[in-house]
């Protein structure tokens, strides 16, 4: 490893109205180093990155690149200086070819026209350095997210070539793709590039990084070499307190008496094949399966987002209507969707308005919840769920992912539901909020609420589920109960008899 400081940021400050997002943060990146940047949601990781790349103007501090003071005006400027960024959502253009994406804005010209042949050749040669032998004249969208991610990296490195910033690059990749990506990162590192790596996956951080910097509440906590720290210390640093042993005692002796809810032959064509499902009071039913297997479809059919076209639902032996979300809510259902941004939050409304929304919709427009009561409710849930920032009048879009998730949970808890559906409640959420939400699930079921939880984190499902339903190819294929619930059993059920485990019905997701 070369030992020369490539990028040095000292005493970086950044304020947002009412919030100090970064306070006197120092960050040093060496050439040929993979430097992981860790912290809870809202710790200031993204803000620091954005200050480095010019997406935000910093309010104080200096940034030195190879010893020279830099002041990037915007991301383009930063790119010219040598700092390239690849975001979690690939921001390339799916409807252009791979080559066009890589060469956009600097296409090779011949006789005043774009030299397509040269463009395809150059980009192909460039990608083959990354072990990617693909036809660059095809549309970008014809390749998987993992390949697109690598194309984005190749483009960023080709354009900037000194510092590469990766903001959660592995969030939507499967394990083979992650392996491929890490191979490339190691190669780039050997070429002397400095790489900043942001991830929520601690095992990946330990696997790939040389140095770890931890931020919390906008302040630098520590920067250490990766081989000098273990995961417990790291989590402690990120959270600022010792993480209690996760409560893994399962309620084996759960009474399987009268079910609260029973669904018979419940299904929706092209979404989820008819299934039978009984849920008892205070029971947590987990749903496991691969992406696109029918997990989310199960939830959306139960909640009336896509009305079921077969079967009946009964609430304590009374047939109930679940044809729309409104009807489901009238039966005291609640649903925290997977896609928080598009299906959950109302971005421009305040935290307070987002919390009371479902309750208000239930009361009808003519009976507004008195402001004093709204404030009392918000105060209660902001405290109970530890929502930060605590100002209920802040627009929800300014909150971090974990806090937005808590607000949506509060929205449903305020309606006092008897059945709550959680679709990937911990996706994209930091370790701290993660543990809190799991604790919340357990305490809700202790209070007698019935829950249906969909998660791709099998450890989590094992921790809180009384029963796990495995979904495969739009079919509920297995049910694992009580003591049999283990990650091994779930994985076996997902993989059993499956010709193509990653089978996805086109157009059904």
């Amino acid at each position: 490893m070369l030992n020369s400081s490539l990028l040095v940021a000292t005493n970086i400050d950044k304020n947002f109205p009412g919030v100090k997002a970064l306070s006197q943060v120092n960050f040093t990146l060496q050439a040929g180093q993979i430097h992981a940047l860790l912290g809870e949601n809202g710790a200031g990781k993204s803000t620091l990155i954005k200050c480095l790349t010019g997406a935000y103007r910093r309010d104080g501090g200096d940034i030195l690149l190879l010893g020279k003071n830099i002041n990037p005006k915007d991301t383009l400027d930063a790119q010219k200086l040598g700092i390239g960024t690849v975001y979690q959502e690939v921001n390339l253009l799916g409807n252009l070819s791979v080559a066009e994406n890589m060469m956009i804005g600097r296409q090779p010209m011949r006789w005043g026209m774009i030299n397509v042949k040269e463009m395809n050749r150059y980009s192909k040669a460039l990608l083959s350095q990354y072990g990617l032998e693909i036809d660059t004249s095809l549309l970008l969208s014809s390749y998987s997210i993992g390949v697109q991610q690598i194309i984005a990296i190749a483009r960023a490195v080709d354009l900037s070539g000194k510092v590469l910033i990766l903001d959660e690059p592995t969030a939507s990749l499967d394990s083979a793709e992650v392996k491929m990506l890490f191979g490339i990162l190691r190669k780039l590192k050997d070429r002397g590039l400095g790489i900043v790596f942001i991830s929520h996956f601690l095992d990946q951080v330990f696997d790939i990084s040389d140095q770890i910097t931890v931020l919390r509440n906008g302040q630098l906590i520590e920067s250490v070499a990766t081989d000098e720290i273990d995961s417990i210390d790291l989590v402690t640093m990120m959270l600022g307190y010792e993480l209690g042993e996760e409560n893994k005692t399962k309620h084996y002796n759960h009474s399987q008496g009268e079910p609260l809810l029973s669904f018979t032959d419940f299904g929706k064509r092209q979404k989820i094949n008819p299934f039978n499902l009984n849920i008892a009071k205070g029971e947590v039913v987990g749903i496991a399966g691969l992406l696109g297997s029918g997990r989310t479809e199960t939830a959306e059919t139960l909640f009336g987002v896509t009305a079921h076209d077969s079967g009946v639902a009964k609430l304590q032996d009374k047939v109930i209507d679940l044809s729309t979300p409104r009807a489901a809510i009238a039966n005291r259902f609640g649903f925290c969707p997977e896609d928080r941004k598009n299906d959950g939050i109302i971005g421009d409304l305040s935290v307070r308005e987002n919390i009371i929304l479902a309750l208000q919709a239930q009361r009808g427009w003519a009976k507004p919840l008195p402001l004093s009561e709204q404030k009392k409710l918000c105060e209660h849930y902001i405290k109970a769920l530890d929502i930060r920032p605590t100002d209920p009048e802040k627009p929800i879009r300014l909150l971090s992912g974990g806090n937005q998730q808590k607000v949506i949970l509060a929205r449903w808890l305020a309606t006092n539901p008897q059945f709550l559906i959680l679709d990937e409640p911990t996706r994209g959420i930091d370790v701290g909020a993660h543990a809190e939400i799991i604790r919340l699930i357990e305490s809700l079921c202790d209070k007698g609420m019935s829950l249906l939880v969909i998660s791709s984190e099998l450890d989590e499902l094992v921790a809180y589920s009384h029963r796990v339903i495995v979904v495969r190819e739009h079919q509920h294929v297995a049910e694992i109960i009580g003591a049999d619930i283990s990650t091994d059993n779930i994985i076996n059920a997902i993989a059993a008899n499956s010709v193509e485990p990653e089978y996805v019905l086109k157009g059904a997701i």
């Binding site: 100090k20 809202g42 979300p325 939050i345 109302i346 421009d348 239930q362 909150l399």
Partner: protein, 340 residues
């Protein structure tokens, strides 16, 4: 206090334009009473601005749901024609008003159903009535300008109560009552919610369809009032010209008033101020004695300036300018509040 601060750009713009009016026409603020009624340029602005102000009320709610209503001008023509033909065929003024409002409700409901149930984009849904509406109005007036002499109906356009011209009272009353209704109930918030994120709103149990139909019906009602005033003012229903292009003035009033065309947060008072800004410009150009062929260009130029002043990009520049001028604050104690 807070809302006053939010409306500051609109209020300042209005003040500047009125000041300009005063400069080109020093008698602008003179108000006298004749025939038991206030007269004067300032009263003229308030009076002539009534149709656009009324349209802007409905338009604000529609735009807040991320929609738009292009048919308000045509609905004015229809409702004015309904009112005129009712008194023409011997109906009372009360019947005429009721039928005009009913016509507005029906037109609005038509728009609402197209948007809410058939999921047709609002701009297309309302374009249908914008085009067809004048045809319907012509059928009602049988192709002619339908004049009337009913004093009750004329009163709506040129009468006065306590010396205040009736149109002014109507739009102020409508503005206050709609504001009161949307802000004292949960309507306002629910309308904003569906405008910001309709999918998430229906996931939360909001009945978006009912609300959408409701806002288009309110828009129809406002157009009915505006159309009746316009017809009563000229004592006749002109199917071809009543409310012509006023949908654009109404949209402009909403935008100048500070409500985004992208939907969500809305301000009715802002839209009403916007309507008055537009009318002050119109009146000012007339009073200034410029050759009339300049009118539209001057109006466009003023509106461009108003919109530049309000542009978010300019605001951001001003903010950074002010921040760099400010002396650095002492570093506050580390707070536990965070955002990312």
């Amino acid at each position: 206090m807070n809302s006053l601060k939010r409306l500051a750009p609109q209020l300042i713009t209005l003040a500047v334009i009125i000041l300009l009016n005063y400069l080109v026409f020093p008698d602008f603020f003179n108000i006298k009473i004749a025939n038991g009624k206030f007269y004067g340029s300032l009263i003229d602005v308030l009076n002539r601005g009534a149709p656009v102000a009324l349209l802007a009320i409905g338009m604000t709610l529609v735009i807040a749901t991320k929609g738009i209503d292009l048919s308000v001008g045509a609905m004015m023509a229809i409702c004015g024609a309904v009112a005129a033909s009712t008194v023409d065929s011997g109906g009372s003024v009360y019947l005429a008003l009721s039928l005009a409002l009913l016509a507005g409700v029906i037109c609005g409901a038509w728009n609402g159903v197209l948007v809410a149930f058939l999921n047709i984009q609002p701009i297309i849904s309302t374009l249908i009535l914008m085009v067809a509406g004048r045809g319907i109005a012509q059928l009602i007036t049988k192709g002619a300008i339908l004049t009337f002499t009913d004093p009750g109906l004329i009163f709506i356009g040129s009468g006065s109560v306590f010396s205040i011209p009736t149109p002014i009272l109507i739009w102020i009353f409508a503005g206050i009552s709609v504001t009161f209704i949307v802000r004292k109930t949960a309507l306002g918030m629910l309308i904003e919610a569906i405008g910001i994120n309709q999918r998430a709103s229906s996931f939360s149990g909001i009945n978006a369809r009912v609300l959408l139909i409701m806002v288009y019906v309110v828009s129809g009602l406002c157009a009915a009032m505006a159309g009746t005033i316009a017809a009563a003012d000229i004592r006749g229903a002109d199917a071809n010209n009543s409310g012509l292009w006023l949908e654009l003035d109404a949209i402009l009033a909403v935008v100048i008033g500070g409500t985004s065309l992208l939907g969500g947060r809305f301000t009715l008072i802002g839209s009403l101020i916007g309507a008055m800004i537009i009318q002050s410009i119109n009146t000012g150009i007339l009073l200034s004695g410029f050759p009339p062929e300049f009118n539209l260009i001057i109006k466009a130029a003023i509106i461009v300036i108003v919109l530049i002043i309000q542009s978010p990009a300019l605001k951001a520049h001003y903010q950074t300018y002010r921040d760099t001028k400010k002396p650095p604050e002492p570093a506050p104690a580390p707070s536990s509040r965070t955002t990312s």
